[in-house]
C-alpha cells in the first residue's frame, strides 16, 4: 500500500470521526473549517502521490456491509478527481467561517458541519470505491448529506422546497443506479467494478439504467431542473462544492463504467452525445435569462456538464471505432474541463457568496457598481468568467480546445459520412454555446459589478474580509496557471487510455496551442499601452447624459433588458413574454407610469414535470384511501390477506 493511498484513507477516516464529533459537540466554525481544510490538503497530497499507481485495499473479511466486505481502489482517474475535490474543499473551508458568520442564527452549526464532513467523505468514498456496494453506500452518504446542506437555512420555505426537489432527483438517480447494479451483479456474479465490462449486448439494459441514474445526478437535460433550485439555496461554499465536485463525481462514474468498461451500444452513445449537446445549449439559454446570480451559475453548470459529456461520449464513440487518438483528445478535454469547471465554477459561486455577504442580495436587478467597492472580488469574478467563457489563456479554453480538436479530427477520420457531419455540426453548436456563454457572463459581470449601484444596500457594500478574499484569489490564479500549463497537464491525462494507433500522434497537437505565449504577449503589450499611451491621469467627468441632467438608476440597463433580444429569438422555447402597462391620462404622449414585466416559463417544468407530479399525487391520494384509520377496515385487510395467502399457498403447492 502506497503512502498516498494511506494518506487518503486516513483522511477519510478522520472525516468519518468528525461527522460524529460535530453531531455530539457543537463545533466552532474556525476549528471545523481548519479541520476540513486540512482534510482537503491531505486529499491533494495523497492524490499527487497516488498518480500513476494503482492501490487496491481489501479491508479484512470480518467487516462486511451486508453483501460484501469494503474494497477501495485508488488509481490515476480517482486521484485526478480527488485532486479536484481536495483543492476545492480546501478553498471552501477557508472561505466558510467568515461567510457563515453572516448567516449566524439562520443555520444550525452542529448539523451543518457534520453534513459538510459527511458530504466530503461521501464524495471521496465514491471516487475510491472498488465495488458496487461501497459505491452505493458512499453515493447515498453524498446525496443525503448534500440534501441536508441544501436545507441549511431550514426556516426558509424556498430552501425546503429546493431540498424536496433535489431529494426526488437523488432518489430517482439512486433507484436507477441500484437497478443497474443488481442487473450487472446477476450477469457478472461479482460486485467488483474491475470485472464489469459493458461490451456484450445483454448488459446494455444495465448500462442504460446506470447511465440514466448518473446523468440525473449530473444534471443533464432533461433532468437538470433540480440544479437551479438546489444550488442557489445552499450556502455558497456548499454550492461551490456541489457544482464544482459533486456533479463531477457522476461524470467520474460515467467515465469509470463506460469508457473503461468499453460500452459498445451505439444508440446509448449517440443518445448521450445528443443529450450532452442539448444540455449545453439549453443550459446556457436559460442561464442568460436568469435574474439571480446563483441561478445563472447553476444553469451554466448544466451547460458545462453538457460540454464535458460531449467529450466523454466522443471518447467512447471514437474508441469503439478504433480511433484511439481522438478518444484520447476527447477524454483529455472532458477531464480537463471537469477539473477546470470545478475551479472556475466554485470560484464564481464563492464570488456570488461574497456579493451576497456584502450587498445582502443576489438579485441582479438590485446590484451594480461592485467592482469599485469590492475590487478583489470583482477581479476574481472577471477572471472566473473569462475562464468559463473559454477565453485564452485561461484553463476553460484549453479544455474546450481539446473538445473542438477531437470533433474536428473526427470530422475527417470517422468512417461514416453521417458521423463526420454530426461532429462538424457539433463544432457549430459549441461555438454558438460559447458565444451565448460570453453574453451570459457579460451580463452577470456588467450588471453586478459595473455601472452604478441599483439599490442602497449594494451602494453600501464593502469588500469581504481577507479569509474570503484569499480562496477567491487562489482559485483565480489556479484557473490561469492551469490554463497556461495545459500543454504539460494534458499528456499524463492522455496516458489514461492505453493504445497508440491513432492517426495523429495526439501529444504533438498541443504544439499548435501557444497558451503561455499568448498570456505573456498580452501582458507585455498591455503594460506597454498603459506605460506609453494611457500614462496620464484622465480628466474625470460625468457620463454623457444627452443634456437631461444626471443619469438615474432607472436609466441603467437591467439584466432583463440586456437579455431581451436573445430571449425574444428563443421565445418558443423560453416562453418569454413582455407585459407592458402604460398608464396616465394622456397615455400616448405623456405616460405617467410605465410598467414592464418580463415573464418566462420553463417548458419542461410546466409541461412535463408538473403533470407527472400531479398524476403521481392523484394516484397516491387514491392509494391513501386504503389507510382509512378504521380498525374494522384493517381487520378486513388482515382477513383478506390471510385468505389470499392460504389460496396462494394451495395454488403454488
Amino acid at each position: 500500500m502506497s503512502i498516498g493511498s494511506m494518506i487518503i484513507g486516513a483522511s477519510c477516516l478522520t472525516a468519518l470521526v468528525l461527522v460524529f464529533c460535530c453531531l455530539l459537540h457543537k463545533p466552532n466554525h474556525r476549528i471545523a473549517s481548519l479541520l476540513l481544510a486540512s482534510i482537503g490538503v491531505l486529499f491533494v497530497s495523497g492524490a499527487l502521490l497516488c498518480w500513476n499507481t494503482v492501490t487496491l485495499w481489501h479491508i479484512s473479511d470480518w467487516i462486511s456491509i451486508g453483501l460484501i466486505c469494503p474494497e477501495f481502489k485508488v488509481d490515476s482517474l480517482a486521484a485526478f478527481f480527488l485532486l479536484s475535490l481536495g483543492t476545492i474543499t480546501t478553498c471552501c473551508a477557508v472561505y466558510s467561517p467568515a461567510y457563515l458568520h453572516h448567516l449566524a442564527d439562520k443555520i444550525n452549526s452542529r448539523f451543518y458541519w457534520s453534513a459538510q464532513f459527511a458530504f466530503v467523505l461521501g464524495m471521496a468514498g465514491v471516487l475510491i470505491s472498488a465495488n458496487a456496494v461501497v459505491f452505493l453506500v458512499a453515493w447515498e452518504v453524498m446525496s443525503l448529506a448534500s440534501a441536508c446542506l441544501v436545507v441549511s437555512e431550514f426556516r426558509q420555505h424556498r430552501a425546503q422546497r429546493a431540498a424536496m426537489i433535489y431529494l426526488v432527483a437523488t432518489r430517482m438517480a439512486t433507484g436507477f443506479i441500484s437497478a443497474g447494479f443488481l442487473i450487472m451483479y446477476s450477469i457478472c456474479g461479482d460486485w467488483s467494478f474491475d470485472s464489469w465490462q459493458f461490451s456484450d449486448h445483454h448488459k446494455w439494459l444495465a448500462a442504460s439504467l446506470l447511465m440514466l441514474g448518473l446523468i440525473i445526478k449530473a444534471g443533464v437535460w432533461p433532468f437538470h431542473i433540480w440544479l437551479p433550485y438546489a444550488h442557489p439555496e445552499a450556502p455558497s461554499p456548499v454550492s461551490a462544492l456541489m457544482s464544482g465536485v459533486m456533479v463531477k463525481v457522476s461524470i467520474f462514474a460515467l467515465i469509470r463504467f463506460f469508457v473503461f468498461g468499453h460500452l459498445t451500444c451505439a444508440p446509448l452513445i449517440y443518445g448521450l452525445f445528443a443529450l450532452a449537446c442539448i444540455s449545453a445549449f439549453w443550459g446556457i439559454l436559460f442561464a442568460i435569462n436568469q435574474r439571480e446570480l446563483k441561478r445563472v451559475l447553476a444553469y451554466s453548470t448544466v451547460e458545462n456538464v453538457g460540454l464535458i459529456l460531449v467529450g466523454v461520449s466522443l471518447c467512447i464513440w471514437a474508441n469503439n471505432l478504433g480511433l484511439t487518438g481522438i478518444a484520447k483528445i476527447a477524454l483529455t478535454g472532458a477531464l480537463l474541463h471537469s477539473f477546470g469547471h470545478g475551479l472556475f465554477k466554485s470560484l464564481l459561486f464563492l464570488c456570488a457568496g461574497s456579493v451576497d455577504y456584502a450587498a445582502h442580495t443576489r438579485d441582479l436587478s438590485l446590484l451594480g457598481g461592485l467592482a469599485k467597492t469590492m475590487p478583489s472580488t470583482g477581479i476574481a469574478f472577471i477572471a472566473g468568467s473569462s475562464a468559463i467563457c473559454a477565453l485564452p489563456p485561461f484553463n476553460g479554453f484549453a479544455s474546450k480546445w481539446c473538445l473542438y480538436q477531437g470533433l474536428l479530427q473526427s470530422s475527417f477520420t470517422m468512417p461514416l459520412l453521417i458521423d463526420r457531419a454530426i461532429t462538424l455540426g457539433a463544432i457549430g453548436l459549441l461555438s454558438c454555446v460559447g458565444a451565448l456563454a460570453i453574453a451570459t457572463f457579460a451580463k452577470a459581470i456588467a450588471v453586478a459589478f459595473l455601472g452604478n449601484a441599483r439599490s442602497p444596500q449594494s451602494r453600501k457594500a464593502k469588500e469581504v474580509p481577507l479569509s474570503m478574499k484569499v480562496p477567491q484569489t487562489f482559485l483565480a490564479l489556479c484557473c490561469l496557471v492551469a490554463g497556461v500549463s495545459s500543454p504539460w497537464l494534458a499528456p499524463p491525462l492522455m496516458a489514461l487510455i492505453p493504445g497508440t494507433n491513432g492517426l495523429q500522434p495526439p501529444i504533438s497537437i498541443f504544439a499548435t496551442l501557444p497558451l503561455w505565449q499568448v498570456g505573456l504577449a498580452l501582458t507585455v503589450m498591455i503594460m506597454f499601452f498603459y506605460g506609453c499611451v494611457l500614462n496620464k491621469a484622465p480628466h474625470i467627468d460625468r457620463t454623457w447624459d444627452c443634456g437631461f441632467g444626471s443619469l438615474g438608476i432607472k436609466s441603467q440597463v437591467t439584466g432583463d433588458s440586456f437579455a431581451q433580444p436573445i430571449a425574444r429569438i428563443f421565445s418558443p422555447i423560453l416562453r418569454h413574454k413582455l407585459a407592458i402597462h402604460i398608464s396616465g391620462r394622456e397615455r400616448r404622449h405623456f405616460p405617467e407610469r410605465i410598467v414592464v414585466e418580463p415573464s418566462m416559463v420553463s417548458l419542461l417544468e410546466t409541461r412535463l414535470y408538473r403533470p407527472a407530479a400531479n398524476i403521481l399525487d392523484r394516484i397516491s391520494r387514491m392509494i391513501g384511501k386504503l389507510q382509512a384509520g378504521s380498525i374494522h377496515l384493517y381487520l378486513l385487510y388482515v382477513c383478506l390477506a390471510l385468505v389470499l395467502v392460504v389460496f396462494a399457498g394451495i395454488f403454488l403447492w
Partner: protein
C-alpha cells in the same frame, strides 16, 4: 540570406500592422464617397485621425472602473497578437502556429471586453449596443467557425498557417464558399452595413459605435486602432481565401508577387465592401437574423463541400 529575408518579412508585417488598417478603412470611405459623388477624404485620413487622437487628452466617466481603460488596452493587444500570428497578409515571417479556435476565441475575448467596457459607464447606450452585439455574435459565430473549420477539415489541421500555406489545393469552389461565408460573417462581426451603418450616429440603433461612445482621446485611439486592425484581419483572411481559389496564382511565386497579390486582394475586398455598403440599406433590427442566415447557409454549403471533397 535567410536572416535578411526573415528580417524583411518581419519589417513588412510590422509596417503593415501600423499602416494597412488605416488605409483599408480610408479606402472603404473613399469608395463610398466616390459613389455618392463626393471627393471624400484622402485614403490615409484615418491614420491622421489616429495620430490626432493619440495626442488628445482623455476624459473618463466618473462611474467607470479600472475595467474601462483595461479593456481598450487588452483589445488592442489581442488585435496586435492576432495580426502578428494569423495569415491575413502574405508573405509572412514564420510566427509559429495560429490555431483556428484560438483565433476565434481571442476575437471572442475582444468582444467580451468591448461589451464590458461599454457597460462600465452607467450610460444606457453602451449596454443596449452590447446587448445587440451579444445577440448578433451568437448567431454569426457558427458561420465564422464552420467556414474556417471546413478549410481545416480538408487541410486536416486546425493550424491556419498550415491551412493557408497550401497553394496547390484543387478545391477552388470550397475556398470561394468559405471566403464568402467568412466575409459575410465578418460584416456582421464588425457590425458593418446591412446590420449597422458605421457612418450614422443614432445611438438607439448603433452596435459598435455606441459601445465605444464614452471612450475619448488616447483611449479612443486604442479602441479605433484595435477595431481597424480587426477589420483588416477579418477582410484579409477572406481575401486570402479568394486568392487561394485562383488556380496557379501563388504557386512558386516570389515573395513580391505574394505581397502584391495579398495587398491587392485585401484592397479589392475592402473596395467591394465599400460598393456593397453604398448599394445596400441598413436592415431593420428584426431582419438582421435573415441576413445572418445567408452567411450561415453559405458556411453550411462550404461544410458540405468540404465533407464531400474529403470523403471521396
Amino acid at each position: 540570406m535567410v536572416n535578411i529575408q526573415n528580417a524583411l518579412l518581419w519589417g513588412y508585417l510590422l509596417v503593415s500592422i501600423v499602416i494597412v488598417p488605416g488605409i483599408i478603412t480610408g479606402l472603404i470611405r473613399k469608395v463610398k464617397a466616390r459613389l455618392q459623388n463626393r471627393i471624400g477624404a484622402p485614403v490615409w485620413q484615418p491614420l491622421l485621425d489616429l495620430i490626432k487622437l493619440f495626442r488628445k487628452e482623455e476624459t473618463l466617466s466618473e462611474t467607470a472602473s479600472w475595467l474601462f481603460r483595461f479593456s481598450s488596452a487588452l483589445n488592442l493587444s489581442i488585435a496586435v497578437y492576432l495580426a502578428i500570428t494569423s495569415p491575413w497578409i502574405s508573405p509572412r515571417p514564420d510566427t509559429g502556429a495560429c490555431d483556428l479556435f484560438l483565433f476565434l476565441y481571442l476575437f471572442a475575448a475582444m468582444r467580451l471586453f468591448t461589451m464590458l467596457g461599454a457597460m462600465d459607464t452607467g450610460s444606457p447606450f453602451g449596454p443596449f449596443a452590447a446587448s445587440r452585439e451579444a445577440t448578433l455574435s451568437f448567431m454569426v459565430e457558427p458561420a465564422a467557425i464552420l467556414s474556417l473549420a471546413s478549410l481545416a477539415l480538408v487541410a486536416r489541421s486546425s493550424d491556419l498557417t498550415v491551412v493557408f500555406s497550401n497553394y496547390t489545393s484543387q478545391h477552388w469552389a470550397l475556398w470561394v464558399l468559405s471566403g464568402s461565408a467568412f466575409l459575410l460573417a465578418s460584416l456582421v462581426e464588425l457590425s458593418r452595413m446591412p446590420i449597422d451603418d458605421p457612418t450614422t450616429h443614432l445611438e438607439l440603433t448603433m452596435v459598435h459605435e455606441a459601445m465605444i461612445l464614452e471612450a475619448s482621446g488616447k483611449n479612443l485611439a486604442l479602441v479605433e486602432f484595435a477595431n481597424a486592425l480587426k477589420l483588416s484581419i477579418l477582410f484579409g483572411i477572406s481575401a486570402q481565401c479568394f486568392l487561394h481559389a485562383i488556380p496557379g496564382l501563388m504557386v512558386n511565386a516570389s515573395p513580391t508577387i505574394h505581397g502584391i497579390a495579398g495587398l491587392t486582394g485585401l484592397s479589392l475586398v475592402a473596395g467591394s465592401v465599400g460598393i456593397f455598403e453604398s448599394l445596400s440599406v441598413k436592415l431593420n433590427w428584426r431582419a438582421a437574423p435573415e441576413f445572418i442566415a445567408y452567411s450561415l447557409a453559405v458556411a453550411l454549403i462550404a461544410t458540405l463541400a468540404a465533407l464531400g471533397a474529403d470523403f471521396v
